[in-house]
Each structure stands twice: as structure tokens, then as C-alpha cells.
């Protein structure tokens, strides 16, 4: 899987980012192949979320390039990257809290429609556009939120909000989905549901997954990259990563090393 350059959907080369004197990312290079589930792990503060920010366009790297499907997207703003097929979720739930679940997803579906002016339409009531409504409802069903359409997002349970967050990202129909700790703050049952959901998604879309739950990571990932102190120390198959001495030392703490 490693050698074939053409199969890499995402190619990150020498990406660095610093904040004041803090080097959050130092020359990170990473390739994600089309169709794989790629996990990104590392201790808190290792720069995982910062890397997701660079990839999604929330921030721009100080150095290095990011290529997506062969195109250099390093300087593109976030919305342009979404149009090319990069979607993301947030570590802290980031939905439209005062809109209904269906309204939330409808916004995502509507954002994809770029026919005659896209959303620059000022007259026709959007409530009557069946295509948007139906598709949004379908995405909610896909992530297991059927029946919760008219609940205001802010009053959904925490786990449900995480599911909604996934539906929002999916409804942009991405080729690459960046998931930043999709199970953060979830109970065991909720986590299990999301793991199953991601397992299911992994067959349809390329995933880059940041997660702390190691059971989930080893169960889901085709390959794992380890980030420590802003540097990428290895990318390998799960078993190899598990055995990697440097990873054990750096990531699992000095506990068993």
C-alpha cells in the first residue's frame, strides 16, 4: 500500500506550524491512500488537532504542502477544500445548536447544491424543497438519528450530537473525512454505536481518524500514524505500531517502557 503514489488521496509534505515560540507541527509528512481508514494517534498536545486544522483549511501551515487528489490545496480556504471533497468533524461538538436536527443537515445538503446560483436564491421558500428535506432525513437515518428530525440540536443528548456532527460532514459527500476524536466524552454504549458507524463509513469514504480510545483505533484502522511533540515518528500497520519501541515509550508514557 505504501509505494503506490497514484493511490494516495492526501499527500502531506513537510508541514510545519508554530504559534509564537511553540512548534506545534514540525515537518510532518504523511500520505493517506484512497479508501483506507488511517488513524492518527499521539499524546495530548502532540499536534493532532493542529494537523487537522491545516488539512481542513481552518489554519494555513507556515511551511510545507498539502496535496489532495493531486491538487495543491495548501493555500485554499476551508470552503474551497470542502467543495473538492474534504470534510471534517470537531473534537468539541460543533453543530447549529438552535436549529432542528433536520435543519442542520439540510444546510449541509443545500451547501452541496451549486445549480443556478446555489444558495443565492432569495424568493422560493426552502422549506418546500423536497429534494433537500428528503436527503437530509436520509442522512439522519444513516447515522442512526431517524425519528429525531424535529428535535432542536442543542437539546439532543451528547452522543446524538456527535452523530449529528457526522451526518453534517457526510452530507457534504466528501472523498476524505477528517474525524477529530469522534468519541470524545461518550459513554461505553454510545462509543460502541459510533465505532460501528465508523466501521460502516470506512467502506464508503477515506477516513483520517484522530482518537484516544486505543481499542477503537486498533479495531478500525488500516494504518496508524503516531505524532509526538509535533513530529511524526512512524506510520505503519497496527501490529507494527503496537510493537514499535519508540511509540511505546513516547505515547504510552514511560509506563511499560
Amino acid at each position: 500500500m505504501n509505494g503506490e503514489k497514484s493511490a494516495d488521496l492526501l499527500e502531506v509534505a513537510g508541514v510545519s506550524r508554530h504559534f509564537g515560540g511553540v512548534h506545534a507541527l514540525s515537518e510532518v509528512s504523511l500520505a493517506v491512500a484512497e479508501g483506507e481508514v488511517h488513524a492518527l494517534i499521539g499524546p495530548n498536545g502532540a499536534g493532532k488537532t493542529t494537523l487537522i486544522h491545516q488539512l481542513s483549511g481552518a489554519q494555513t501551515p507556515d511551511a510545507g504542502t498539502i496535496r489532495f487528489a493531486g491538487e495543491d490545496v495548501t493555500r485554499l480556504p476551508m470552503h474551497a477544500r470542502v467543495a473538492r471533497g474534504i470534510a471534517r468533524s470537531w473534537q468539541v461538538t460543533n453543530v447549529f445548536g438552535r436549529l432542528t436536527a433536520l435543519d442542520n443537515v439540510a444546510l449541509a445538503v443545500q451547501g452541496r447544491q451549486r445549480d443556478w446560483g446555489g444558495s443565492f436564491r432569495f424568493w422560493a421558500p426552502v422549506d418546500k424543497e423536497r429534494a433537500i428535506v428528503d436527503e437530509a432525513a436520509a442522512w439522519l437515518a444513516e447515522v442512526g438519528l431517524a425519528g429525531r428530525e424535529s428535535t432542536v440540536a442543542g437539546s439532543l443528548a451528547h452522543g446524538e450530537q456527535r452523530q449529528l456532527e457526522l451526518a453534517l460532514a457526510l452530507a457534504t459527500k466528501p472523498r476524505l473525512l477528517l474525524l477529530d476524536e469522534p468519541m470524545a466524552g461518550m459513554g461505553p454504549e454510545e462509543s460502541e454505536r459510533v465505532v460501528e458507524l465508523i466501521e460502516h463509513l470506512g467502506r464508503k469514504v477515506t477516513l483520517l481518524l484522530v482518537e484516544h480510545d486505543m481499542d477503537a483505533v486498533f479495531r478500525l484502522a488500516d494504518r496508524i500514524s503516531v505524532l509526538v511533540g509535533g513530529r511524526l515518528i512512524c506510520t505503519d500497520l497496527p501490529d507494527a505500531v503496537r510493537a514499535h519501541p519508540e511509540v511505546r515509550k513516547a505515547y504510552l508514557g514511560d509506563a511499560d517502557a
Binding site: A58, T100, D103, L107, R121, L168
Partner: protein
Amino acid sequence: MAGEGMKSALYRQSARRRGLAFAALLALAALPPLLQALGQDFYVSVAARMLIFALAATSLNFIVGFGGLVAFGHAAFFGAGAYAVAILAERGVTSAFVAWPAAAALAGGLALLIGAISLRTRGVYFIMITLAFAQMIYYLFISLKAWGGDDGLPLMARSTFGPFDLGNDATFYWVALACLAAALFLLDRIAHARFGRVLQGIRENESRMAALGYPVAAYQLACFVIGGTLAGLAGALIANHSLLASPNLLHWTQSGTLLVMVIVGGVGTLYGGFAGALTLLLLEELLTGVTVHWHAALGLLLLVVVFRAPRGVAAWLHGLFSRGGTK
């Protein structure tokens, strides 16, 4: 069932509300004959002025409340509309069908220019940069002697409007009312259309909208331009009303007054601008009759609004209604 879910919580359209709006429109339309019957002809003109300010405040509320952009330079668009009409009239263009759209277009174009630059900034800096641009327009107009300088540019007569005589205060009032009603109807449609949904999303969570693929700044700019255009129309009306394009219309305190109207009326509600303009101008009428120091009284009342009715008069009244009303 899914269709029901699509209704957004903030902007619910209902037959009852449409009925109320229609009734209010009829009542407002019946005002001139009523005042004339009472022998209070003078107040027809006062009422027309309130409607014009209601339009200006409504256009600002669309930017501030619906677009989530706190702009402090709305006087620029209001005043530019007024000057456009006066300048055209000076050159012999007196038809409302030419001059008023021209005024709106000029204000809209100005909004496009100012918005495109200002939207690079956020928050307080956006407030200040819109103020800076408005000040530029203000000083530009008062410095140019050809446009009347400090004295402003007078109009010989109100615009011609097909067969209707705008010189008649009642006719002018009805035209102003029609403009306001049309603007409210338009903004209500926009709020419920795709564009309105996007603005609502941006106001709620800007970064999330960008992550759904929306070029946020483009939508905000469009919103800014729509608000500016409507303010230009209000400006055209106010110049006709007072037969003067006054530099006072461009002054920053005018921007402040419009903003105060919006906040008093209720930020982000369709009728907030209307309610605020009405409240403020009525208070002005009432208080000037009671005390020469009516500004102080108004100030105290505004403080009461800030601390007692933080979501505006419209919401406060609504609260009173729903508490005392049915159910």
C-alpha cells in the same frame, strides 16, 4: 412529517401572523383619513417620517440581526440615497421611477464597495471600519460645495410618481407605507429562502458553515448589499419628505440612532426595526411636549430598555402578550 421539521425555530411563518400583518397594514393605511378627520393633518407628515425611519431601521436590522454583522455606518447608505435623489433632481431628473431606483442602486453599490473591504475584519474592528467609511462619505459630501456643503442640497419639489401627486402628504404617506410593506415582505421571503437559511446558519456558527462548503464572506456581503440598497430607498424617501438632502443624514449619530432603533425594537426580528423606529420617534414626540430636557428622559428610558428588556421592545411586548393572551 419531515417537512414539518424543516420549519426553523426562529422564523416561523403562520397564517395567524400573516393575518395580523395584513390587519396592521390596513390599520396603518387608514391612518391619514383618520388624522384628517380629527383635524390633525400635520401628523400625517410626522407619521410618514416614522415609516421612512422604520424602513431605514429595518434595512439595518437585516444586516445586524439577520446577517449578524454589527455595522456602525448605515447613515452612509441612508444619506447617499437622499443625495442621489437631490442631485438628480438638480439635473432635471424628477421621476421617482428613475431617481429612486438610482438612489437604491447607488447605496447598494456603495455597500458592495464598503462591505467587500470591511468584511476582512471582525467584531469591534468591523464596527469601526464601517464607521470610518461612513465618516469618509460624510466629509466628502460636506466638503463639496457643489452639493451644498454644510447646508445640504434642497429639492424644489417631491419626485413625480406617475399620476399620483406626492406633494399631497396622504399620498406620500401611502407610498412610504407601500415601500415599507414591500420591503418587509421581501425580507420575509429572503429569510425563508435558501439565502436566508444560509445567513441564519452563519449567524449561528460561522466556522461550521465554512466547513460545509459555504463561502461565508460572499453571503455576508450579499446581505450587507441588500441592507444598504433598502437604506438607499429610505434615503430617497426622506429627501422627498423633508425636501432636503441634509448632511445630518450622513452623520455618525444618525448611524447610532438607527442602531439604537434596531436594538430597542429587537435585533433579528422582522418587525424589530419598525417597532424600534416607532417607539423612539413616538417617545420623541411625546417627551418634547413634556420637557425641554427630553433627551435626558429618553436616555433614562433607553437604560431601562438595556437592563429590563434586553431583547428589545418587540420581544418584550411579545412576552407580555403570550403571558396575558390565550393559553
